[in-house]
């Protein structure tokens, strides 16, 4: 990966930010200079890191739950036609209902702990994963389906076992690139779920820290937390991208989503 170009972009933006602060002479509770933010970041790293750890846990758990349920739904919808009519409305409803609207409910039901944040995150991640995987499963090359049917004719497996093996050896592997696209989108938006959950009601996490700092006009701390959150989100995305790429080495590597 080429780190130089994004580094130049970020440095350029920081420089612009610093210039604006220097020229306009804005008070630091409106817009702190990048240097001050950096100073706050190093001075309060223990505080920020503690909250960041909690947010990271929420994001990762949300991802795990969202990806699992997304994959499961896609498999069920693809494999059993009647399930489609039952699960598809849920899938679409999970996107139609604004998470912001149900997040407070989740807090009332489950308290200020980890659970509501994980669920909000999972709700956001679920849709792109399920749709991506389902798309892939529905688009198996008919030529392969024909060949599989013929190859299985000389066997003695039951219809169910043959179907299982069709999924295991053909349909699922062919759908993996689409699933990976879904997971990439889900990973990119995963932090949103955790932060929304924390904003609505929490006692810890980067969202909680930012909300509190904002109320006390500690804008430098808000920015420092935001930077850590951005760093976490980027790291998570590129880590996931790297893992997915390694898992599918046969995929033509176009590096569109990579730096």
């Amino acid at each position: 990966m080429n780190f130089l170009r994004p580094l130049i972009t970020v440095s350029g933006l920081l420089l612009l930010w610093g210039l604006i602060v220097a020229v306009t002479d804005l008070p630091k509770f409106i817009l702190p200079s990048p240097l001050l933010v950096f100073h706050t970041l190093t001075a309060k790293i223990d505080l920020i890191a503690g909250h960041a750890l909690i947010t990271a846990t929420e994001i990762l758990l949300g991802l795990a739950v969202g990806i699992s349920f997304g994959m499961l739904s896609a498999l069920l919808i693809s494999a059993y036609k009647p399930v489609r009519q039952w699960v598809l409305p849920i899938l679409i409803a999970s996107q139609a209902i604004p998470v912001f609207a149900i997040a407070p409910l989740l807090v009332i039901w489950m308290g200020y702990g980890l659970a509501p944040k994980v669920i909000v995150g999972a709700l956001i991640i679920y849709f792109p994963v399920a749709v991506g995987f389902l798309d892939g499963l529905n688009r198996t090359d008919p030529a392969w389906l024909n060949l599989t049917a013929l190859l299985q004719k000389s066997g003695s497996g039951s219809a169910f076992l043959n179907r299982y093996r069709l999924y295991r050896h053909i349909k699922i592997p062919f759908a993996l690139p689409s699933l990976a696209s879904g997971i990439r989108v889900g990973t990119a938006i995963a932090p949103i779920g955790a932060i929304i959950g924390e904003w609505v009601g929490s006692s810890a996490g980067l969202g909680f820290l930012m909300l509190n700092a904002n109320a006390r006009m500690q804008i430098d701390l808000v920015f420092a937390s935001l930077m850590v959150l951005t760093f976490m989100a980027l790291t998570l995305y590129f880590l996931m991208d790297h893992v997915l790429r390694r898992l599918m080495p046969w995929q033509p590597d176009q590096k569109v989503t990579s730096i």
């Binding site: 030529a143 060949l147 013929l150 066997g155 076992l161 046969w250």
Partner: protein, 269 residues
């Protein structure tokens, strides 16, 4: 696994192999088709085709004439229309002892050449016979590419892997749908030689639009033309397969076929 169970499963495999080999001898195929239509367009009507046992039958015709439809009916990819039947000369169905090779290589992009050859066993839940797969890959000239993934192989090599996969189950009946049409002339020529040797003693239907391919590989050649399609009288060139394309006999047949194709071609080219 205990050695007892291992030897048991081995002997079982061997007995099923011999059963297969006996079945492999002299199975012809007969297709009787009342009518095949897509919408209002009648593709085939009152169409009969017989594949002689242990011979290569070629169907030769321009694209769009319905060659592939016949093959798809035999393979069971298309549902058989009413009043039509596909049977072996022993009176049994054929799809459980038929292998199929497509114009596309249909290799699994994530799997090695070896895994691609044994995919049939995987799909049937059987233990793959890797020894046979390795020897087949060696026979098609890919001894050094057993672990290679398809994206690292050339088009000709990929089609060699597909040929090995087609031969893996040792089915007595093999259906081939323009298997070499996507290859360059030299690669095509080499693969025809290879196929002629490896398909000996099998009942083969080879669909092609290349007269020279039909003349090199076919024991019997039918030219398809018209709408609904009619078959020409079978052409049975002399000589053992693969035939030498430079022989006078073959060149004579070639110009005959080209003439009949050109005369009967009434549609747009």
């Amino acid at each position: 696994m205990s050695s007892d169970r291992l030897s048991y499963s081995r002997s079982q495999e061997r007995s099923s192999d011999t059963a297969r080999n006996q079945a492999a001898l002299n199975v012809g195929v007969s297709l009787k088709l009342a009518r095949l239509a897509f919408g209002d367009t009648i593709i085939l009507e009152n169409f009969d085709l017989t594949l002689e046992p242990a011979q290569i039958t070629c169907l030769l015709g321009p694209s769009g004439v319905g060659k592939s439809s016949i093959l798809k009916l035999l393979a069971g990819f298309l549902p058989l229309p009413t009043n039509s039947e596909v049977t072996g000369t022993d009176g049994l169905g054929i799809t459980n002892r038929t292998s199929y090779m497509d114009q596309q290589d249909l290799l699994l992009p994530w799997a090695s050449a070896l895994e691609n050859v044994v995919v049939g066993a995987r799909l049937r839940g059987q233990t793959p016979d890797f020894k046979r797969a390795r020897s087949l890959l060696a026979q098609v000239g890919l001894k050094d590419y057993i672990t290679a993934r398809p994206d690292t192989l050339s088009g000709g090599m990929r089609q060699r892997v597909a040929l090995a996969r087609t031969l893996m189950d040792d089915s007595p009946i093999v259906l081939m749908d323009e298997p070499f049409s996507a290859l360059d002339a030299i690669t095509k020529f080499r693969l025809q030689d290879l196929a002629a040797n490896l398909l000996a003693q099998k009942t083969v239907l080879l669909i092609t639009h290349d007269p020279m391919e039909a003349l090199r590989l076919g024991h019997r050649i039918f030219v398809m033309s018209g709408s609904p399609v009619r078959l020409s009288a079978p052409l049975c060139p002399e000589g053992s397969l693969p035939r030498d394309p430079a022989s006078d006999d073959l060149r004579h047949h070639y110009s005959d076929i080209m003439a009949s194709l050109a005369l009967t071609d009434t549609g747009p080219a």
